[in-house]
Amino acid sequence: MSNVELNQFSITLAKNQVIQNLDLSVRQGEFLVLLGPSGCGKSTLLHSIAGLIEPSGGTLTIGGRDMAGVDPSERGIGMVFQSYALYPTMTVEKNMSFGLRIAGLPKAEIARRVERVAGMLQLKELLKRKPAELSGGQRQRVAIGRALVREASVFLFDEPLSNLDAKLRTELRRELKLLHQTLRSTMIYVTHDQVEAMTLATRIVVMQGGRVQQIGTPTEVYERPANLFVAGFLGTPAMNFIDGQLNGAGQFDAAPLTLQLPGAAQAQARTGGARAAVLGVRPEHVHIASGASLSGTVSLVEPMGNHQVVWLQCGPHLLSAISQEGSYVSGQQVAFAIDASRVSLFDRASGDNLQAGQVSQAGLADAA
C-alpha cells in the first residue's frame, strides 16, 4: 500500500527547475530517507510534500487524496525542522499543543495527547519551560513532540539532527529509530549524512541535481550503487575507484592491477565488449594478507579504534583498505587481495553501473 505518491512531480524556484519529473511512491509505515549533497533539491521536495512550496507540475497524493491546493495543515502531516522552529514565546506545552488548539480539539484530548508524547520523549519535567531554557537536544525533542501530537499519517523530517553535536546526534538517531518501530507511521527524512541514512532508512532515495539517482534499501544502495555518484557518496572512507580497461574475457586491467571478474560482470563484459571502465572497490573488500596476489606500499595508516584504515599505493592507484588487526607502518610492502565478487563496475563515459541488470532485478524482487 502506498501512502505518499508523487507522479511526474516538478518544482521550479525562481525559474530554476529544482525537481524534474520525479516519480516516487512511499509505502505505509516506511522510513524513507532522501539523501544527497546540499542543493540537490531534497529539502525543497520535502517542503513541497508539506505544501509549503507550490509544485510547478505533476501530482502528489497522500493517503490516496490529491494534495493540489490543499493547505499544509490539512494534509495529515507533522513536520520537524532543522532549526527546531519552536515558538520562542510559548512554553513547551503550548508549543506542542498550538496546532491542536487551533484545530479546536477538546481540552481533555489535547492534555491526553501532550501527556502521552511528553512521556514518550521524556519531556514531562520540561513542559512549563520556554525554548530558550532548553538544550539543543531537548529543543529538538520538543520539535519532534510537536509533530507527534498531531497524530498524523506522515511525518516529515528536514535534517532534524544536523544542528546537534555528534554525541547527541547518535543518541537522538537511536531514539528516532525506536520511535519509528513503536509508531509504525510513515516517515520521510531528509539528510545529507549518509550514516543517518544507512542507520534509519528502510529505503534510501539518493538524489543529485534534482534527480533521483537510486532508490533502494540501505544494503542495495551501498552494495550495488547504480552509478559513480551513488558509489562515491555512500561509505567512509569512500569507495576506491580505479580507472582501467575491461576486456571481452571479463578481465579488468589497470596496470599494475589486474582482476578476473566473476559471473554477472563477466557476462556483461562479454556482451558489451571491451571498454573503458571504472572499478569500484569498498575499502572493506581490500584484504591485506600475506601471499595475496597484489602488492602495494603502505602510505598512511589511520587508526579508528575498532579498526584502521590503511592507504596503499599500488602503481598510480591509491587504495584504502580497512583492516581489523595487524600493525603497519608507512613505506612497508604488503600483499593484498580484492574480493572480486563484491566489486562494482562502472562505464567510464556515463558513470552507470555496468551490472545495472542485476540492480534492477534486485529492485523488482524487493517490490514484489
Binding site: A50, M79, P88
Partner: protein, 289 residues
C-alpha cells in the same frame, strides 16, 4: 591596574575625552541657557549675564507658560497644545505601528504577488518630500470633508509613517527564521493567528523602536499639524511658535524658554527612559536616509 591607568592617560585617550567633552558642552550649552533663563525673573534676565545661574530661582515663568501665556487669541498657556499633541500622537503612533506590523509581516512571510513592487512604491513615498504632497492632500481631505480635524491629522501622520513603519517591521521579520512561519502554517495557523500568536509576541523590541521613532516624529512635527489639524487641534509645536512670535508687549524670555522646554519634554523624557532603544530607532532611521 597600572596598565589600565596607562591606557586611560595615553595621549590618544586624552584627545578623545577632550573632544567628547567639548562636543557635549557645545550641545548642552543652549539647553543650559534655556533652563537657567526659564528660572529667572525678567529683571534678572535684563541685568545679568545669559550664562549666570539664577540668583532667586522662580517657577513663576513655568506656571505662566503652562497655563497663562497667550497663544494667539487665547491666553491659556501651552497646556491646551500639550493635550492636543497627546491626542494627535497617541493614535498616530498606535495606528501606524499596527498597520506597519501587519504590512511588514505580510511582505516578509506571505509574499503576495507583486509584493516587491508594492513595497517599492511605498518606499518611493518615503523619499518624496512632505511639502510636495501637502496641497494634493489638502484637496483630498477637503473633498472627504475631513480637512482641519483630528482624524485628518492622524490620517496624514498614518500615511507618512507607513513607509518607514513597514520597512522597519519587514526587515525585522526578515530576520526571523522562515521555518518558524512554516511550522505555524503546518500547525494550521492562518494569516492573523500566526501574526497575533507567534510573530507579534516576538516583536516587542521592534515595537519599542517604532514607537520611539513615531512618537518623536509626530510630537516634533510642525508643518503637518499647522496645515491639517485645524484651529481646535493645533499641536504644541504650533502653539509654541505662536507664543514666541507674539508681537504685542515685551518679550517674556523666561516664559518662552519654559514653554520651549515644556514642548521638548516628551521626546526628551522618551530619550532618557529608553536610551538604548532610542539609539536603535535613530540608527534605523539613519539607514532610511
Amino acid at each position: 591596574m597600572k596598565s589600565r591607568l596607562k591606557l586611560l592617560a595615553s595621549p590618544a585617550r586624552i584627545g578623545i575625552y577632550a573632544f567628547l567633552a567639548s562636543a557635549a558642552l557645545f550641545f548642552l550649552l543652549p539647553l543650559y541657557v534655556m533652563l537657567v533663563t526659564s528660572l529667572k525673573s525678567m529683571d534678572e534676565i535684563r541685568s545679568g549675564s545669559v550664562l549666570a545661574l539664577p540668583l532667586a530661582a522662580t517657577l513663576e515663568p513655568w506656571r505662566q507658560a503652562w497655563s497663562e501665556v497667550c497663544t494667539g487669541a487665547a491666553c491659556e498657556g501651552v497646556r491646551a497644545g500639550f493635550w492636543n499633541s497627546v491626542a494627535i500622537t497617541v493614535p498616530s503612533t498606535i495606528l501606524p505601528i499596527m498597520l506597519g506590523a501587519v504590512n511588514g509581516y505580510a511582505l516578509a512571510f506571505w509574499r503576495p504577488r507583486g509584493a516587491t513592487l508594492l513595497f517599492g512604491i511605498l518606499m518611493v513615498g518615503a523619499f518624496v518630500p512632505v511639502q510636495v504632497m501637502i496641497y494634493p492632500l489638502v484637496r483630498l481631505l477637503a473633498t472627504m470633508g475631513l480637512f482641519g480635524s483630528l482624524p485628518a491629522i492622524v490620517l496624514v501622520h498614518l500615511i507618512f509613517g507607513m513607509p518607514v513603519m513597514t520597512m522597519l517591521f519587514r526587515n525585522y521579520y526578515a530576520s526571523v527564521p522562515h521555518e518558524l512561519y512554516q511550522a505555524a502554517r503546518i500547525d494550521g495557523g492562518g494569516f492573523f493567528r500566526v501574526f497575533l500568536q507567534v510573530m507579534l509576541p516576538l516583536s516587542l523590541p521592534i515595537i519599542a523602536v517604532a514607537a520611539i521613532m513615531q512618537v518623536t516624529g509626530v510630537w516634533n512635527d510642525y508643518i503637518l499639524g499647522l496645515v491639517f489639524a485645524g484651529r481646535d487641534n493645533l499641536p504644541m509645536t504650533v502653539q509654541l511658535n505662536n507664543v514666541i512670535n507674539t508681537t504685542t508687549g515685551s518679550r517674556l524670555y523666561n516664559v518662552n524658554m519654559a514653554a520651549t522646554i515644556l514642548t521638548a519634554l516628551v521626546p526628551l523624557a522618551l530619550y532618557f527612559f529608553s536610551g538604548r532603544w532610542f539609539v536603535r530607532g535613530v540608527a534605523a532611521g539613519a539607514v532610511k536616509g
